[in-house]
């Protein structure tokens, strides 16, 4: 036994330090290697293969080439779900940035009890999931809901029917999304506090007013944070699911049929796993295109302090 240990040890010492580090590196990252090979790379290949078949996982597999993709192209519901998701994303993300940024700017005015304000505005962003979807399905209830009670108090006698109305269902989801905008507020607040005060002092000497300072110092210095929120917001909003699933089930008349809800319906309810996989790939490419678009555009509008020095 002792001999074995000794033999093992001498074998170990025979390896050079570099070789030992190579082995250690791959041993430490083993969880991620398995994760990557099985759950990412392997699954992506498998997912593409499934998207070329017709299968319910029970009765067998039938290879049908790109049929799922051509059918998707001719599927009105797919286009509907794309429109719904795009509408939601491109309304919520910019509005979320404006709301989050506005709160952060207000909180950055040397307010008293900053911690308390921050907690209140951040709180809705902490809670999420099914419980919040249920809460909001009642908040948005046309008869007994909080929102319409508020609107009636403001003198609107005939408020929208929100999640029961084809026109107002997506706006209702957007309002609900804005309620959680406090999450990005924290990032903007940290960004604001990181802006060097010398910049403002220099602007004061030049006689700049608040407004010019805001547009010429604050906003440019915050563009990296805005950029980050834009990216995360687009990626997250395109995958919206829980609200639609819990609150409307995609209705009324598919007005809230989001892409992931449609994917879930086709895959796990209609057992059309090939079709759902094709849908997942299309979703991936749509997200990829918008992400790359934002990244490409960033050279024109995102300002990195570091670049100045070069």
């Amino acid at each position: 036994m002792a001999d074995e240990v000794l033999a093992h040890r001498t074998k170990m010492t025979r390896l050079s330090p570099r070789q030992r580090d190579n082995i250690a590196g791959y041993l430490f990252t083993l969880p991620w290697i398995i994760h990557f090979l099985l759950l990412i790379a392997g699954s992506m290949i498998f997912s593409f293969v499934i998207s070329l078949t017709r299968t319910d996982l029970l009765t067998g597999w039938e290879f049908i080439g790109l049929d799922n993709y051509t059918r998707l192209y001719n599927d009105n519901l797919f286009w509907k779900s794309l429109r719904v998701t795009a509408y939601y994303t491109f309304a919520l993300v910019p509005m979320g940035i404006v709301v989050g940024l506005s709160i952060a700017v207000l909180l950055n005015q040397k307010v008293k009890a900053l911690g308390l304000w921050r907690t209140v505005y951040y709180l809705p962003a902490v809670v999420s999931g099914v419980a919040v979807a249920i809460l909001w399905s009642w908040v948005l209830n046309p008869r007994f809901g909080l929102l319409n009670a508020g609107l009636r108090t403001l003198g609107i006698s005939d408020p929208p029917r929100w999640i029961f109305s084809e026109t107002w269902a997506v706006p209702a989801f957007i309002i609900m999304g804005l309620w959680g905008a406090g999450g990005s507020m924290l990032l903007y607040l940290a960004g604001l506090q990181g802006i060097p005060t010398q910049l403002y002092e220099a602007a004061d000497i030049d006689g700049a007013n608040r407004w010019t300072k805001f547009w010429n110092i604050t906003i440019p210095m915050l563009t990296p944070t805005i950029f980050f929120n834009l990216l995360v917001g687009i990626i997250g909003s395109f995958q919206v699911f829980t609200q639609a699933f819990i609150m409307t089930g995609g209705g009324p008349n598919n007005a809230t049929l989001t892409m992931v809800l449609y994917l879930y319906r086709q895959g796990f309810q209609n057992l059309r796993f090939g079709y759902a996989s094709a849908l997942a790939w299309v979703l991936f490419f749509i997200i990829l295109i918008f992400t790359l678009g934002v990244v490409k555009s960033s050279a024109a509008w995102v300002f990195y302090e570091g670049e100045l020095r070069r």
């Binding site: 570099r18 590196g25 990252t29 991620w32 994760h35 699954s43 809670v127 929120n229």
Partner: protein, 296 residues
């Protein structure tokens, strides 16, 4: 405009704020706190309404206009709701899954992050770049193939599909921890290496103890994520007795959707652990958000 005139207007422009700045300062403060207060009121209102509705007798809940404070508050909605479905079981299942996954995430992600931050190994930088790139992949792409694999392995209707992936680390947490480990000075582990300590010793006795704040952030986020996780349990768990709180709540809602106090009470019960955790460990929540985003 002559130079003289320009000079006067400029002096006026400079003097003007001096005279009015105090008045404006006070008015500005009032407006600022007014706007902040109104905003905070609107942000809190849905949660307050939720609490209020959950302690109302059935009849009062549907009253228009809203009665905020019921004359006779009651916990009836809580006891009735809790009895309708095995919520204690849902709670136990969720706690179990969450605790196991927090341990898994912290352990696996810190090991991987440690290697990326400290060990020089062949191909490390390319490998790290691939890791970052995978963060862009939406989960839906791999949802179905992973489901197919679990179905083949007989893992459907068990917790394995909800636990195993989390014990294999994830790109987001690895990235976050690696950034933190990089800020720890390598002098200590250089000294330890000279004393003959291996990488595992440096990881467990130097880096981990010094990274408690970052590990706390990861643990808190893992807690909130697992507690709220919906799609995974929805797809994999089929027996009611195995349900987690999120899908149990959804089942409750489909059965009792017409009862406002009950659905509100049970939703609140599901939210309480996250809320308590938020108030206890607010620092970590906020730190986590800032750690992730500011450097982009």
């Amino acid at each position: 405009m002559t130079t003289q005139e320009q000079l006067t207007t400029r002096t006026q422009a400079r003097d003007w704020p001096l005279v009015w700045s105090k008045v404006f300062g006070v008015v500005g403060k009032i407006v600022l706190y007014g706007v902040l207060g109104l905003g905070a009121f609107i942000f809190l209102l849905p949660l307050l309404w939720m609490i209020s509705t959950s302690i109302k007798p059935e009849a009062l809940a549907y009253n228009v206009p809203i009665i905020w404070i019921p004359a006779e508050p009651t916990f009836r909605a809580y006891t009735e709701g809790w009895r309708t479905l095995p919520f204690d079981l849902f709670y136990r299942n969720t706690i179990l899954m969450t605790v196991v996954n927090i341990v898994g995430i912290v352990l696996s992600s810190s090991l991987v992050a440690f290697a990326f931050a400290r060990i020089r190994f062949w191909g490390r930088d390319t490998y790290f770049f691939i890791l970052l790139a995978t963060m862009m992949l939406p989960a839906q792409v791999t949802l179905i193939p992973i489901y197919v694999i679990w179905a083949r392995l007989g893992g459907v209707n068990s917790y394995w599909p909800l636990i195993v992936p989390q014990w294999l680390s994830n790109a987001y947490n690895v990235f976050l921890l690696r950034q933190f480990f990089m800020t720890i000075s390598p002098e200590m582990d250089d000294a330890a290496r000279i004393d003959g300590a291996g990488w595992l010793r440096i990881y467990s006795q130097i880096i981990m103890p010094m990274s408690k704040p970052a590990l706390g952030v990861i643990a808190i986020q893992a807690f909130a994520w697992n507690w709220n996780e919906f799609m995974g349990p929805l797809i994999y768990l089929s027996e009611t007795r195995k349900y987690t709180i999120s899908i149990g709540l959804r089942l409750f809602q489909t059965q009792q959707s017409q009862k406002m106090p009950e659905t509100m009470a049970m939703s609140l019960v599901a939210l309480v652990p996250v809320l308590v955790m938020f108030f206890v460990a607010q620092r970590y929540f906020i730190q986590g958000i800032v750690l992730t985003g500011v450097k982009g």
